[in-house]
């Protein structure tokens, strides 16, 4: 079975997100917290998709180390890039929710918040690490090792937070009681939409990187005098992936 096209993915993501937020605002009941709880349908899917994206990046990194195929490195790189963006969204929306709900922008005593920030900052160091290595192959290998190590840290961190005593942040899916039916349906639709949006953006960025790689190849073929030196200072391995390989078998 062939992978759906980018257009299909993007349209499905848009439909699910519009439908999900329509359900969240017009169908799901107001909780005791009041209207501010509507941020839940944005903040939680963003955080979950960001964390899952880091795990997906680790899986691609393992495949890169096993096969040495640059497409897996490119997928790992793009997955981390988009997860950092989604993580930024989760932090901003979380801070706004915290201010409206608890009267503070941030609470350092809450393990959920601090652990998410640690993971976010850990992945923020991925770019300086990657670009500090000039040689392309070594850069890709080191970045993969980083992605695997940090990716293993994500589920461990999640478990640690589950075991820790909550301070003020509620646990979304606790064993003692879940969401009411309508809220759960709206939440799941929003989560599916957010996940599809992430996949669409990953495909979009991989396509752009593929086009950029093809362009560099064309430039080298047509204008050999303009070819870059063998070891450029800021070599970005994912850009060297051609469009053909970027469009094949989307695992993310």
């Amino acid at each position: 079975m062939s992978a759906p096209s980018l257009r299909t993915l993007a349209l499905s993501a848009a439909a699910l997100l519009i439908g999900g937020y329509a359900l969240a605002f017009f169908w799901a009941p107001l909780e005791a917290e009041g209207f501010i709880q509507k941020i839940f349908y944005l903040h939680v899917p963003l955080a979950i998709v960001a964390l899952l994206g880091f795990v997906v990046a680790a899986i691609h990194a393992i495949r890169h180390l096993r096969t040495e195929d640059p497409i897996h490195d490119a997928r790992s790189y793009v997955s981390i890039h988009l997860s950092v963006i989604f993580g930024t969204g989760a932090l901003i929306t979380g801070a706004l929710w915290a201010k409206g709900q608890w009267g503070v922008w941030w609470e350092w005593r809450e393990p959920t918040l601090v652990s998410f920030l640690i993971i976010f900052l850990l992945y923020a160091t991925y770019y300086p690490l990657r670009y500090s290595i000039p040689e392309r192959d070594r850069q890709a290998r080191y970045a993969s090792v980083f992605a695997i190590t940090a990716g293993a840290f994500v589920p461990l961190n999640f478990l640690a937070v589950r075991l820790a005593e909550p301070f003020i942040h509620p646990r979304t899916f606790s064993s003692t009681g879940g969401l009411p039916g309508e809220m759960l349906v709206a939440f799941l639709v929003c989560l599916a939409g957010m996940a599809l949006l992430w996949v669409s953006l990953v495909r979009f960025e991989l396509g752009a990187k593929g086009a950029s790689g093809d362009l560099a190849k064309l430039r080298r073929a047509l204008l050999p005098s303009e070819a870059p030196p063998p070891a450029p200072r800021r070599a970005v391995a994912p850009a060297a992936v051609s469009t053909m390989s970027a469009d094949q078998g989307k695992g993310s």
Binding site: L96, G100, E205
Partner: protein, 81 residues
């Protein structure tokens, strides 16, 4: 009237959160669109270089002037004849 008051206080934060997400998405799409435009422009320039008649020294890829494009078009027509 308490629920209404609570609604007014909280709707600013809710709107702020959704707008922040929309802005983040918009910034990302704008950056990617600019990148794709650059790729398209460079591709056009390379296509112009590829169209140049054989035997002529390859010029540097840069945007061709109107006179250069006219000259290239004339050379292409000449080659077709």
């Amino acid at each position: 009237m308490e629920p209404l008051l609570a609604l007014e206080q909280s709707e600013g934060y809710v709107a702020g959160a959704y707008l922040a997400f929309a802005a983040l998405l918009l910034i990302y799409v704008a950056i990617m669109a600019a990148k794709l435009q650059r790729i398209q422009r460079e591709l056009r320039e390379l296509a112009d270089v590829a169209d140049e008649p054989a035997g002529r020294p390859k010029r540097k890829a840069g945007r061709a002037s109107r006179a250069q494009r006219r000259e290239m078009e004339a050379a292409r027509r000449e080659a077709q004849r």
